[in-house]
Symmetry: C2
Subunit: 147 residues, 2 copies
């Protein structure tokens, strides 16, 4: 029923977090080290090793002991999808003056649970609000009143 548009066999939620970090690290630094993944996710190094082995078994990454990790095609596809969602959400919430840092936990939660139609709705709304500063201002005022 709620089959994703991309019919990828998505990993677990935690695995998606790992994939996102790994892709980001590879794009920023050229490689993804266990220690950096652990640091970025706020968990212990040993936990990362364990998960990477599971993800290798699941075909999401290619892993060789003491050498680096790289994404498989399947893993990269999922990673890019998550990053795309993350960025859409940051862009959306930034409209309301919420900075990326203060909404990090929210986005973390939401990005794993957003179906394609909902993502499309968010993106469409982002576009409209960017084009209508007056509307955006009204919304922001209401938010200020609530908080």
């Amino acid at each position: 029923m709620s089959k994703a548009i991309t019919p990828t066999l998505r990993g677990t939620r935690a695995q998606e977090d790992y994939l996102e970090q790994i892709l980001t690290l590879i794009e920023n630094k050229g490689y993804a080290r266990v220690v950096d993944i652990a640091h970025n996710l706020g968990i212990a190094q040993a936990s990362v090793t364990g998960m990477i082995q599971r993800m290798d078994a699941d075909g999401l990454v290619a892993y060789e002991k003491y050498r680096g990790v790289i994404l498989t095609e399947a893993g990269e596809e999922i990673a890019r999808e998550i990053v795309r969602r993350h960025e859409s959400l940051v862009e959306f919430f930034a409209l309301f003056g919420l900075d990326e840092h203060s909404i990090y936990d929210d986005i973390e939660g939401i990005e794993h649970h957003m179906s394609q139609p909902i993502l499309a709705a968010i993106q469409a709304l982002t576009g409209e609000l960017e084009r209508q500063p007056a509307l955006l201002e009204r919304v922001k005022k209401k938010i200020a009143g609530c908080a």
Copy 2:
């Protein structure tokens, strides 16, 4: 930093799901049976018993063997908050023609991860879109194009 407005010690995500179901059942039928909670959450009865005992230990529900479950004050506060979020999200996504059933999984995911400012933003946007059918139509067209 991301302290909730309601400074409640929220339960785990799973516990929030239970609380939501329990509150809904109590309001609809006057009581919450284990068998109904299990059915609504799509899990086994025995799993519910186990969780309810944990939640009793955590002070979220009051539980007596073979008698019913009721919410404590703390539990009810959390339950009402989750229900409120759930309803706000349904209202929002319904704007775009997405029915409650088809977005159930999304909302399930999101409702546990939404901070107060983001909830306020969603609610404010819902209000604006209800008042601007033309804008809503444009957004809906874009969504149709994406899917």
